[in-house]
């Protein structure tokens, strides 16, 4: 069972960048997994695939600023038995190279792991042109594709190790920021299970990626200030979606709030609504970019602007419960 470790101090958590751990884990795995190859598109210093490149230059391919080319090259490597991990910013992986991912990687069900960094609005100052707020929707609809969003560096590490053993295409979405660590060092991944990190009976908060920490903090404040007990599910597995955990929780709480650094259409909110509609309809409220592009700004300023900071989530959850729906 999940549940947040009591050792985690939500008000002053340890922080670590997911992409740093991604780079380190790849570099470690490269020593024993000789079929592991890594591709990047002129962003190796940002995505941290450089950490692998420095140790295994022969198995690292910097394709230059050529994301479409990179995706199909990875497909070719997979077709001859290599295990490619591909990275760039999420917008360029899921957006620019979507057709390549669909037709050349997923249609052939090739073993390509796409691990983009800099997803969502916390990419920050570069602005809307670089902020992928549609990638979960884009990737989720492709047959054969598995879509995963780790919530912190520890979970990133476990997901990367596990993914190496599981054939087939995966999209593993990371972020740029130095982010709160909410899993203990000895965390063990339960594949395809979305963990209940906090139990409650008044509402369910489904959060994904860096929003899970914000949701936990909001839930803590709801309990302390208002006596509202929120159940928080860390939605790591967006596809296939862990329907059981969601439905059990919804049966208990009767209402579901979804939170994602993504459009409120087609991503986590979309997946949750699809499952609830089919199995156990309850009122839902979806937080995300409300059909608006992102913009430049510091990550925390942007979370506030788009209603995705812990305080905004707290206020939305409180109003949702008070509405009696």
């Amino acid at each position: 069972m999940g549940l947040l470790s009591p050792a985690i101090d939500l008000e002053a958590p340890k922080k670590e960048a997911l992409r740093n751990r991604f780079g380190d884990t790849l570099a470690e795995l490269g020593a024993t997994e000789t079929d592991l190859v890594v591709l990047d598109a002129d962003l190796a210093c940002s995505t941290q695939t450089k950490r692998f490149a420095d140790k295994f230059p022969d198995r690292f391919f910097n394709q230059g600023i050529s994301e479409a080319d990179m995706m199909c090259t990875a497909a070719g490597l997979a077709a001859v038995g290599k295990k490619p991990y591909v990275s760039t910013f999420a917008l360029f992986a899921a957006g620019r190279a979507w057709d390549q991912v669909r037709n050349t990687i997923c249609y052939s069900n090739l073993n390509v792991k796409i691990v983009p960094t800099h997803s969502g609005i916390s990419l920050g100052e570069d602005g809307a042109s670089h902020q992928s707020i549609e990638d979960l929707a884009l990737m989720r609809t492709i047959p054969n594709m598995t879509v995963i969003v780790p919530a912190d560096a520890v979970e990133t590490d476990r997901i990367i190790r596990w993914s190496l053993q599981v054939p087939g295409p995966m999209y593993i979405r990371l972020v740029r920021t130095n982010h709160a660590v909410i899993h203990p060092d000895d965390f063990e991944l339960e594949p395809y299970k979305n963990q209940v990190l906090r139990q409650g009976s008044d509402l369910t908060i489904c959060a994904t990626g860096e929003m899970t920490y914000h949701a936990l903090l909001a839930a803590k404040h709801l309990s302390e200030r208002d006596g509202i007990e929120a159940e928080v599910i860390n939605c790591t597995f967006i596809k296939p979606f862990d329907t059981d955990t969601l439905i059990k929780s919804a049966q208990k709480t009767g209402r579901v709030l979804t939170v994602e650094s993504h459009q409120f259409i087609g991503g986590l909110g979309g997946a949750v609504c699809e499952e609830l509609c089919a199995h156990h309809p309850v009122p839902v409220k979806r937080l995300g970019t409300q059909d608006r592009f992102g913009q430049s700004g510091k990550p925390d300023d942007l979370f506030k602007e788009y209603g995705l900071d812990p305080d905004s989530i707290y206020a939305e959850a409180k109003a949702f419960v008070a509405s009696g729906r």
Partner: protein, 307 residues
């Protein structure tokens, strides 16, 4: 990721330029460029975020385009027959904002807002926020196709307007650049001039070490373009090439590409030719050092020594 000298091919076609640019006031242009370099650094330093290398690399080109080559009017940003400019390498936004402020498209009071929430000065140029930006850019490789579309549309309208598009050399690793490079001659576009900032650097290092562009001019020639090769910091050459490009396109029914040999980080000694200054803001100490390099005596002395 090593640095190597810029390819030697670049300046050889300068013979195609007319010699007479005696009317160009080089001193005034240099002085404007020097000041705009300071504005660029001010913006990036205040934001503590942004791309100094590319902005300093292309500001001399923008000074010539907006000051000497393009027909435009900040008071009439919707003027149908204005010349168009597409900054395909959108991360050069600070340079574009600096020149647009100088020409009155953007108020100076906006200068400190670069990259802040609810600013018009987005990290990459966005048409929604700024007059003088007709098409949003930032995702590399897309601007040249957009410029081709503009040129086609303006030609349908019988407009005398000319379209200029600036691409990066690293950006030219995107396949779409070469799709557009095939389209423009296919449509016999004579109202399109492209410029390539050939500074030989991209994020992860030297372009020639990552995915070599080699003689990029020869590649465009092979795709059906006229090609001029200039020093992208020499105002006479830039302006002469701009005029020559238009005339040459008319004579040949082909679009023209100006390959501009530039120095990434130009004007700030410790940023020049350093890939590390691609997307990094200077700290207070580095900012002071950069400003010292941009004081007139130091700046012009270094330019003199470089030539």
């Amino acid at each position: 990721m090593t640095e190597s000298a810029p390819p030697a091919d670049l300046i050889k076609n300068a013979k195609a330029l007319p010699a007479d640019t005696t009317t160009v006031d080089v001193d005034a242009l240099s002085e404007l460029s020097r000041k705009l370099r300071i504005d660029i650094l001010d913006m990036i330093f205040t934001a503590q975020s942004g791309h100094p290398g590319t902005s300093l690399s292309c500001i001399d080109l923008l000074v010539c385009l907006f000051g000497e080559l393009m027909q435009h009017d900040a008071k009439r940003p919707d003027w149908a027959d204005r010349d168009r400019f597409v900054l395909s390498k959108g991360h050069g936004a600070p340079a574009l904002y600096a020149i647009l402020m100088h020409h009155g498209y953007i108020g100076w009071e906006e200068k400190p807002t670069l990259r802040q929430v609810n600013s018009n000065l987005q990290g990459h140029p966005a048409s929604k926020y700024v007059d003088g930006v007709d098409i949003s850019t930032g995702s590399l490789g897309q601007g040249l196709s957009a410029a081709v579309g503009m040129a086609l549309g303006l030609r349908l309208n019988n407009s005398p307007a000319h379209v200029y598009c600036l691409i990066g050399d690293g950006e030219s690793q995107e396949g779409q650049i070469w799709e557009a490079a095939l389209s423009a001659p296919a449509h016999k576009l004579t109202n399109l001039t492209a410029l390539c900032d050939r500074n030989s650097l991209q994020i992860d290092g030297n372009t020639e070490a990552i995915k070599p562009l080699g003689d990029i001019g020869a590649k465009f020639e092979a795709f059906g373009w006229n090609v001029l090769r200039i020093d992208g910091h020499d105002f006479r050459q830039i302006i002469a090439a701009g005029h020559r490009a238009k005339a040459w396109s008319q004579e040949t029914d082909k679009p023209t590409m100006i390959v501009c040999q530039c120095t990434k980080g130009k004007g700030v000694s410790f940023m020049e030719n350093e890939a590390g200054w691609h997307g990094k803001a200077p700290n207070a100490e580095q900012y002071e050092a950069a400003l010292a390099d941009l004081q007139p005596d130091v700046y012009y002395q270094r330019l003199k020594e470089a030539n």
